[in-house]
């Protein structure tokens, strides 16, 4: 029986390699292992599909429709502002029986009717695209976050891989009045969604929820606005015979301006949290 001798040449060739070369070789091997491991980890991480192409397109379309409506209304609202300023400057308040004031009031009423007509024409398109976006998001949210996740996995998705790195990226804007044009808001949504590839799932879940709830509210508001437009048009047609500016008119115009063109007062300045310790956080073996 013969024993196979060891082959010293192999160990010699590795051990006798020069220091820097060996270090480079080891670094390359370690790097390759790290890449393979991280790729495998990524492959195991469940990805959520909250923004299919249809949602992205719907958002873009809604933004375009909103922009068209704003463009149409901008000119009318500008005219209304001028007429109202003239009415106030002419001291028509309390002098409604004056012929000149009566004529001014009728002009304002006619412009107000124009505004309502434009809204009436554009709102169905708006309603349609908003509904499409809402329905697509609804399906994604129900399936991806509602049925495929437990509360714990949802929490882990929101935290992402940086639970201990608290002072991280800026989070997507949460709900509330954004104080910007409707079309700008949709444009921003579109840009956030279109560039979402670089973001983690945690941002997407919040973003999708934010947009979905916004769409829900917008749908309801559009429905109510359409009903109100029919009533307001009838009222104004009646008022035209008397040449009266009602407080409701002024209020509606103010509301439309605030919704469409933003409201600077609506922006709240929120102070950030005080800076915390930058030290490496302690990780307990009990931590989950």
């Amino acid at each position: 029986m013969t024993t196979r001798p060891r082959q010293p040449s192999v160990s010699v060739s590795v051990h006798s390699a020069p220091g820097p070369h060996r270090r480079i070789f080891l670094s390359v091997v370690l790097l390759a292992i790290a890449i393979v491991v991280s790729q495998a980890a990524l492959a195991n991480t469940p990805t959520i599909r909250l923004f299919p192409t249809t949602v992205v397109e719907d958002l873009k379309q809604t933004g375009n429709v909103a922009r068209d409506m704003e463009t149409g209304l901008q000119e009318v609202i500008g005219r209304l502002d001028q007429q109202q300023a003239l009415y106030v400057e002419s001291k028509c308040d309390g002098a409604e029986s004056d012929t000149g004031c009566e004529r001014l009031a009728r002009q304002i009423g006619a412009t107000y009717l124009d505004m309502l007509t434009i809204m009436e024409e554009r709102l169905p398109d708006m309603e349609h695209t908003v509904n499409n976006t809402r329905q697509s998001l609804e399906k994604s949210l129900r399936n991806e976050l509602g049925k495929k996740m437990t509360p714990w996995t949802l929490q882990e998705t929101l935290i992402g891989g940086n639970a201990n790195n608290a002072a991280t990226q800026a989070s997507p804007t949460l709900r509330g009045r954004s104080g910007m044009r409707l079309s700008e808001r949709f444009k921003q949504y579109y840009q956030l969604v279109a560039t979402s590839g670089a973001k983690g799932d945690q941002s997407l879940a919040v973003l999708a929820s934010d947009i979905y709830l916004d769409m829900e509210e917008t749908t309801l508001l559009i429905q109510r606005t359409r009903q109100e437009i029919a009533r307001a048009t009838l009222m104004e047609q009646l008022n035209q015979s008397f040449g009266i500016i009602t407080p409701e008119m002024i209020e509606v115009v103010g509301g439309v301006k605030s919704i469409l063109f933003g409201d600077a007062e609506g922006q709240a300045l929120v102070a950030g949290p005080p800076p915390g310790s930058i030290e490496e956080a302690y990780r307990s073996p009990l931590e989950q």
Partner: protein, 192 residues
């Protein structure tokens, strides 16, 4: 002659029993009194230093006060609030690991005690069923439990460990969960 002998034996025996009875009574009293003196008082730790307070609590727990662990944990948190620092997290973790190793807490209980106060994640969100079927029908309760847990995190992260970033992240996570659950549950309800 015979009767005399028996009576004397009886008398003698009666005389012999007396000291035995006295000794037995004394011994029983002594035994009972010694039992009463070893009953643990389970008093709260009086030390201001967290490390010393933990040692005192550990001694009490080993003497049979394990039923008071909840109160002791609260006492320790109060003591740590008096001297807040990031290392307190480690002290609490080690104490809970010790409690688990000594069979005073299950591993799961130890995790709950620790994470409820010192982790960003919410233990209130533990659950094995999907959100549509389980979380949404109980959404208000889940959010209420989270809110209570957030106040415990404020105590553990902010007031005990000075981990401001951790607490603010937990606070933001609470808001995010609230928003995402509102949207998800609306979507779930619409699909029925």
């Amino acid at each position: 002659m015979k009767t005399t002998t028996v009576r004397s034996a009886f008398v003698k025996a009666k005389l012999d029993y007396k000291p035995v009875l006295i000794v037995a009574t004394l011994f029983a009293t002594l035994a009972l009194s010694s039992c009463a003196s070893t009953t643990p008082t389970c008093a709260s730790p009086q030390a201001k230093d967290l490390g010393r307070a933990i040692t005192m609590v550990q001694a009490s727990l080993m003497e049979g006060c394990h039923a008071h662990l909840d109160r002791y944990y609260d006492d320790l948190l109060s003591i740590a609030e008096g001297d807040p620092k990031p290392e307190n997290k480690r002290e609490f973790s080690q104490f809970l690991v010790w409690s688990s190793d000594n069979g005073l807490l299950s591993n799961r209980q130890a995790q709950d005690y620790y994470n409820r106060y010192f982790n960003i994640k919410f233990m209130s969100l533990k659950g094995d069923y999907n959100n549509c079927s389980h979380t949404c029908p109980n959404k208000q309760k889940v959010l209420f439990d989270m809110e209570r847990e957030l106040s415990d995190k404020e105590r553990g992260l902010l007031r005990v460990s000075l981990d401001n970033n951790g607490y603010y992240r937990a606070d933001r996570l609470y808001q995010e969960v609230e928003l995402v659950l509102e949207a998800t549950c609306t979507a779930c309800a619409a699909g029925r």
